[in-house]
């Protein structure tokens, strides 16, 4: 499913300073999250992963190790940039100062993908979490306006990720799927399909994750995220929490296979933010995703 990505990243596409051919591994091999603890091992061992993904907000300083190592690693690998702070779903206007810094990073790094979330995180102050939005017409229009600003400013199509949520709004007028489908149609944005978020949200709202995938507008999907979750300890409603601090669990791997059936072969990320293991454990998870993709697509293609 690479049609979203095959469009030129910018109308004024410039000659890339990075080695050519790198983008192929983004399409063919699963990537992992880039964390400071992995900088040295990556440069020393050059693990066989397809790409690395960074959170934009961790790479906006003028200098320091984050900037340096990201550029070093970019010489050898494709990179995807994942925004966690643009507050696309917020009622307030996009923070243009922040967007300028993000745009500069995107210009410098030339990622394969820039993605953000269907969520809000800023209202006067930044709340450092991905907060849910109501699925009504007013919010849909606001979200599309924000995506327009983002895509115009970055001069590229962005991917927007389906959220993990812990409650549903009474005021919602449509399903999450209908909201996402219409958001993508109106704004022209692509979608980042987070399989763990489907598992988490569907569990928390008593929905069937396979039915959710069945209805998802997979034609717009440009990337898949896989991650782990934890279960909340409250006895009343045992909620699943999108914690990114565990290996990808079996239920998410199973759902991933179904996602591939629906969406086709798709660039995939093993996403890990907390309780970080040795890098090789994430590389092994990436290889597991590769072998699932190989079994499904390469062998299938020969038959």
């Amino acid at each position: 499913m690479s049609h979203v990505l095959s469009e030129p990243s910018s109308p004024q596409a410039v000659e890339s300073p990075f080695s050519s051919g790198l983008e192929d591994t983004f399409l063919s091999h699963t990537g992992i999250s880039l964390k400071p603890a992995y900088y040295a091992p990556i440069l020393a061992e050059r693990p066989s992963v397809g790409f690395f993904e960074v959170h934009a907000e961790n790479y906006l300083s003028k200098g320091g190790p984050a900037q340096y190592y990201l550029r070093k690693i970019r010489e050898h690998y494709p990179v995807t940039v994942h925004g966690v702070g643009l507050s696309i779903g917020g009622e307030q206007d996009i923070n243009m100062e922040h967007l300028k810094r993000v745009a500069q990073l995107v210009k410098d790094i030339q990622p394969e993908v820039f993605s953000e979330h269907l969520a809000w995180s800023t209202h006067d102050t930044f709340l450092n979490d991905l907060l849910p939005v109501a699925y009504d017409e007013a919010t849909l229009q606001k979200v599309c306006d924000h995506i327009d600003i983002l895509q115009n400013f970055l001069q590229r199509k962005v991917l927007i990720e389906n959220p993990s949520t812990y409650f549903q709004f009474n005021r919602s007028e449509m399903s999450e799927i209908d909201f996402i489908t219409e958001m993508s149609r109106r704004s022209g944005c692509g979608l980042l399909l987070d399989v763990n978020n489907i598992e988490v949200s569907c569990h928390n709202h008593g929905h069937n994750p396979y039915h959710y995938l069945e209805a998802f507008p997979v034609h717009a999907v440009g990337q898949i995220h896989l991650a782990g979750h934890t279960t909340d300890t409250n006895a009343l409603v045992p909620l699943k929490i999108d914690s990114h601090d565990e290996p990808v669990p079996e239920d998410v791997w199973s759902l991933y296979q179904y996602a591939l059936v629906k969406a086709g072969n798709c660039p995939t990320l093993i996403e890990r933010d907390g309780n970080l293991p040795a890098m090789k454990e994430l590389v092994e998870e990436a290889h597991k995703a590769d072998s699932i993709r190989d079994d499904m697509f390469r062998r299938g293609a020969r038959l």
Partner: protein, 247 residues
């Protein structure tokens, strides 16, 4: 509605709950608590990462309780979380339960300055060979001017914060125990190749390096002191790799 949601995150206020689809008040509470926990814990953890020495000095429990009070009133102005906590030291200075650790506010300010310096722009520094070449190319080196990165700072601390900070990162428990925290120190904060460095200076060294940062040449920067050893200080600056130019 974002405003009401936000108010619910930082209070027990149930005003927002009628927006939530849930069977009972207890269920609304349980669902909202996930967001309360995500927001507050992630910001408290961020402060712990930004102020690791302060956290160690007062202990996890005290630090978390203090950071929690701060977070409830002071959320980040920017999504760049490494810039969070710019006024944490001011908060600590006014925070009654921290009064028993009189150096804590200064320590937090120092930690913030060190992180900010690490994340600041890079300046290329000279290699040993270039430095010896510059010195050997003139007959009288006393007229040379040594430049340090413009982000370099000299601080005078009423507490032994440089020793405390360095001991923390060297994991040297013994030197940590030997620190007399009430001993005043001169500190050099300087950046070389990606990372900020913190050095404890004598008064003469501090005066001399301060002079260098004011573009004085070696002779002009010399402190009036019998015991000042120019060679020793130059050796340190060379070893720390912080000289950006010699003119």
């Amino acid at each position: 509605m974002n405003k009401l949601f936000k108010a619910a995150l930082f209070s027990d206020d149930t005003g927002f709950y009628n927006e939530m689809s849930a069977a009972t008040l207890a269920e609304q509470e349980a669902r909202m608590n996930v967001y309360r926990n995500n927001v507050v814990v992630s910001l408290v953890d961020a402060l712990g990462d930004i102020f690791p020495v302060s956290r160690t000095v007062v202990g996890e429990e005290f630090f978390h309780a203090m950071a929690r009070v701060y977070v409830m009133e002071n959320q980040p102005n920017s999504p760049v979380i490494s810039e969070y906590g710019g006024n944490f030291s001011d908060f600590i200075r006014q925070f009654e339960p921290a009064k028993g650790v009189p150096f804590l506010a200064d320590l937090a300010a120092l930690e913030y300055a060190m992180l900010t310096l690490t994340n600041s722009e890079e300046f290329e520094t000279l290699e040993h060979e270039a430095i010896s070449q510059a010195f050997s190319s003139v007959e009288d080196p006393s007229g040379l001017t040594l430049s340090l990165p413009p982000t370099t700072q000299i601080l005078e601390s009423p507490f032994a914060l440089g020793s405390l900070y360095r001991a923390h990162f060297s994991d040297d428990q013994q030197s940590l125990n030997q620190i007399d925290i009430n001993k005043a120190e001169y500190l050099l904060l300087v950046k070389s190749h990606l990372y900020s460095q913190l050095h404890v200076l004598s008064r003469d060294e501090a005066l001399f390096i301060k002079g260098l940062t004011q573009n004085k040449n070696l002779e002009e920067a010399l402190p009036e002191s019998e015991t000042f050893d120019l060679g020793e200080v130059l050796a340190k600056l060379i070893q720390w790799k912080v000289i950006t130019a010699i003119t």
